[in-house]
Symmetry: C2
Subunit: 599 residues, 2 copies
């Protein structure tokens, strides 16, 4: 005889949303459409879960990405089969490449229409396969499921959510319209989804021992901290471990803000040959052991693949799901588990040699920019200045382009989170990502605490830095910020009259690097902000910039502020120019070589 | 001994752009990126070809679609591998579903980086396959090529352009960065690409004879004109044929504006059960022969699949590449060739029975709307009114949503082109499509003539009708209109406070059908238009609407005008409600039946 619980049911959609809420998700991004409307009905029925509603689906995907990066749980977006689903694809691809957890839920046609291959709106051509879109997203997800069988659906949801966490990658859940309400046993929801990887503990212990041994054997070790540490939620344990090791520590451009940058063992950003003087030499020449943690070895994260380490024998790689110590590889050893195990081991058995001896590098002061005395706002000045203005709890979003290259020179205070999309590098990412990040920030306990104490200065701010070119791709998400009444956002628009990063790469005066000339001062008002014009300013000198960011409106932020920053269209960060020079030089060499071979 | 012409070369990119220019293309849409910049250098070197530069890639695809629909040649867009390419995908999918010619050119990484699977920005994950995106677009194109072999590249370009025309579908051309400048024989450009299908002439003649025989044998034939007639460039020959036949003629919602609607044989829009009184009966009951030309049998083009013809034996289907006469099918018979052949045959051998006898239907007057006397702007009034205001040379773009359902009730004067995306139904399509259409309109001879004569009233206008919800997805393309200095565009924003079509379908008062509240009156100015506020108006009564559209600013249009039209959020066109009712009724029946079966 079954208990009463065995006969209780809940609709499939309710199960889905409650599962998602269990992960910590509080806001669902997306755009409504006739194939997902009934699915959306169930969102607000879940305690603590809300529908957001973005201006378009690409923006929804970017917003979910930004949300996930701040909150640690997956970002969630809902679209409609085909039209919305494909519009979001590029945003999901970015999350895939940068290991951001995303759950993309697609409302589709019902099973009857699918089986008869009916020509329903949003389908492709005559006799359409309604599942053709599902194949399209195969390369940008780690798992997917179709909720088209009442018996398997709950298990499929659970499996896919687990995969999302295991790989920190996007997953897709397809919901046919006619399966939204089907009843499933309510008891299933009570057992939480197992999100932990199946660690090989013996391999993990061996790896920990091998790593400790190698560190002890080295004279001048160094650590490079990269993005996957953040993506797999290992930032806290890593910082704890760094405090134990006190080994000279660097971050990559993508790893920036994971490490507390005020620590004495922190040396700055390592980006191959595109680093400040002394940095590359410290790692590549002076270190006899390099520990590369949570790496993404993409071009702009390695100075255009210009890293030049000595030998594999003297390196340790800590990847998402394995650890490589010299030539030995330990599989099924996962980032968080490994770092936690290493930290715990060191607590019990500290290193026999004092970490202090390993603080061996003398890095020269960065060169003084030639335009340091300029009164107008320069690339050599602004990024450090924005970095300095941010305090604990603040989030900075840097768009692809000059901002991304520039921010490697900024020093971030502990508790500042920096978000940027370097590997995928899709312009337009930052505006919706800022929206998602700001929503997550408002949901944080720290923000609620500061708010409760009416401690305005301690409430975190989300500071977006976007170029006038990139802004145009996704600008309408400012409207969603206004709709949601966000008051924790500062939008800095770098107005340098077009695609400056592309001018630096090719065609400085070509028409294709020009853009439409907008009136940025009217944007907030056009998108519906009250006092939009009052809260919009334009500055073209360092002094005016200082005045703006030190005003009470900015320090005690209480409504969206837009700051248009006028800069020279041909001014670029030194790092961008250095990387371009390096690649051009390399290409010239290759060309010369191939010409020789041809003779 | 070769001639001098055999040794002359031109860069591959120059060949590509000259080929595209030969098709009639004058404007190239897209967004620049570091992998396509050098490719773009060659555009302006071709006489009569210009780069446009859109606000984002989805918009560029929609714009290319609108451009193609007006101009007849393919729309062309250029994007960057991955980031831009995927962002455009949904726009290309729409063109695919609606048989619009598109050439999507993607600038990719060079071959060396592809072969080494380097982690270059815009790639997917570790050890990336740079060609993974090419597989993603496989379902939304009819052909593609990679220009990665100097010997095959020109032939591949030609093959793909031919396929674009044969099927009137999108094609992709992938250009690795390092192949942009490779030299190819210049002489190749002189032989034009063969764009004509390989007709089976015997089958074509047999089909023509069979069709004439069947028409002669019928007493009450009727013709349904649909979208593919337009897509395959057969509108002129079809209208000529209709004048010869004088058979009662209908259009589908997607076929609207192909036929001259002032002809005595034109009866209106046939959309299955969702038609004005008498229409369905005329075709389904009173006709003894139905000729369905250029059909796309999607749901909203057939009243939710509610057509109810008698028998196949009494029907003729004229498809893109075959003709079906009763049970006999004639393959490799193509739309234009067939219609031309039929028209020529009828010129020599007219029908033996007078066409006049076939004008047999009495269609009752449309019912008078219950809200006919309303002073405010109603759904039952506005679409007919906008239809009536358009004159020869004008283009009307109707967004998915109420506009799309409403415009079936409008009567268009000859020479008015109506554009809408009914089968794919992707909201946001209309704003960039309007931009593309307006660019094509300015390039037309008719416009140039009127301009030369300073005949402002005869210069065509492009009239966009978009809802406040749909507008938000792609609004930034208004900035591109301003950048290009377009002065032939009227933007009508139907402000009915959210997604009204979705309120009608499900959740009338649900929050997910609400949108951000923008200040539409500021949009033109924010996007950089001079006198933007002067050229923006808001109207909420029929009288004010009349006043606006009859003002000189609208009749002698000389700068972009924005007209915000306030309408009730729950008012919907009768056709939308009728289709919803029909589908709900059908679903209820299915549910009831399946419950019976289960017992």
């Amino acid at each position: 005889m079954g208990s009463i619980r065995d006969v209780l049911t809940l609709p499939l959609a309710a199960y889905l949303w409650r599962r998602i809420r269990q992960l910590g998700v509080q806001s669902v991004m997306g755009v409504p459409g006739d194939m997902n409307l009934e699915l959306l009905d169930y969102i607000d029925q879940v305690d603590g879960l809300s529908w957001v509603g973005n201006a378009n689906e690409l923006n929804a995907a970017y917003a979910a990405d930004g949300y996930s990066r701040v909150k640690g749980c997956p970002g969630v977006l809902v679209t409609t089969m085909g039209v919305g689903e494909l519009s979001a694809l590029n945003g999901v691809a970015g999350a895939y490449t940068e290991n951001v957890k995303l759950i993309h839920i697609v409302g589709t046609t019902g099973m009857r229409a699918q089986k008869s291959r009916a020509m329903i709106h949003h389908c492709l051509g005559p006799n359409p396969d309604h599942r053709v879109y599902s194949a399209i997203s195969d390369s940008v997800r780690t798992a997917h499921c179709w909720l088209d069988d009442v018996n398997t659906a709950p298990g499929e949801i659970d499996r896919v959510l687990r995969e999302c966490y295991l790989h920190s990658l996007p997953v897709y859940i397809f919901v046919p319209m006619d399966f939204v309400h089907v009843p499933i046993p309510a008891a299933l929801i009570e057992e939480p989804v197992d999100l932990k990887p199946k660690t090989d503990y013996e391999a993990c212990i061996s790896a920990i021992n091998a790593v400790i041994e190698m560190i002890e054997a080295s004279s001048v070790p160094s650590i490079i901290v990269d993005a996957l540490v953040h993506r797999f939620g290992a930032s806290d344990v890593l910082n704890q471990l760094l405090d134990q090791l006190e080994i000279p520590t660097f971050t990559t451009p993508m790893g920036k803000s994971i490490v507390s940058e005020n620590k004495p063992y922190f040396y700055g950003v390592y980006n191959g040959q595109v680093s400040l003087p002394g940095i590359a030499k410290a790692i590549e020449t002076n270190s006899d052991l390099v520990i590369d943690v949570g790496f993404i070895h993409s071009d702009s994260n390695t100075g255009g693949h210009s890293r030049n380490f000595s030998s594999q024998a003297r390196s340790i790689l800590v990847a998402a799901d394995y650890v490589q110590v010299g030539h030995a590889r330990y599989d099924n050893v996962y980032l968080v588990e490994f770092l936690t195990g290493l930290s715990e081991t060191l607590s019990t058995y500290p290193l026999t040699r004092l970490p202090g001896q390993r603080r061996a590098f003398t890095i020269p002061n960065p060169p003084i920019p030639t335009d340091v005395t300029a009164k107008h706002i320069t690339q050599s000045w602004i990024w450090k200045r924005i970095g300095a203005m941010a305090g604990p709890g603040d989030i900075i979003i840097g768009e692809s382009g000059t901002a991304q290259f520039g921010f490697s020179d900024a020093m971030f205070k502990p508790g500042v989170q920096y978000i940027t999309q370097i590997y995928f590098g899709s312009i337009g990412y930052s505006v919706p990502a800022c929206f998602g990040a700001a929503v997550a920030q408002l949901e944080s306990e720290a923000w609620a605490d500061a708010q409760a104490l009416n401690d305005r200065a301690r409430r975190g701010r989300t500071i977006l830095v976007v170029g006038d070119g990139s802004l145009q791709l996704t600008v309408q998400e400012i409207g969603t910020m206004v709709k949601k009444g966000l008051r924790n956002v500062i939008i800095m628009v770098i107005n340098n009259n077009g695609y400056t990063i592309e001018r630096a790469i090719h065609g400085p005066e070509q028409g294709y690097n020009d853009i439409a000339t907008w009136n940025h001062q009217l944007l907030l008002s056009a998108f519906g902000a009250k006092d939009g014009e009052v809260n919009s300013r334009v500055v073209d000198t360092k002094e005016a910039f200082e005045e703006a960011i030190s005003s009470q409106e900015y320090t005690d932020l209480n409504s969206i502020q837009l700051l248009e920053v006028i800069m020279d269209k041909m001014d670029v960060p030194w790092r961008l120019q250095a990387q371009i020079d390096l690649i051009n030089e390399r290409n010239a060499k290759i060309k010369k070589q191939s010409q020789k071979t041809c003779r």
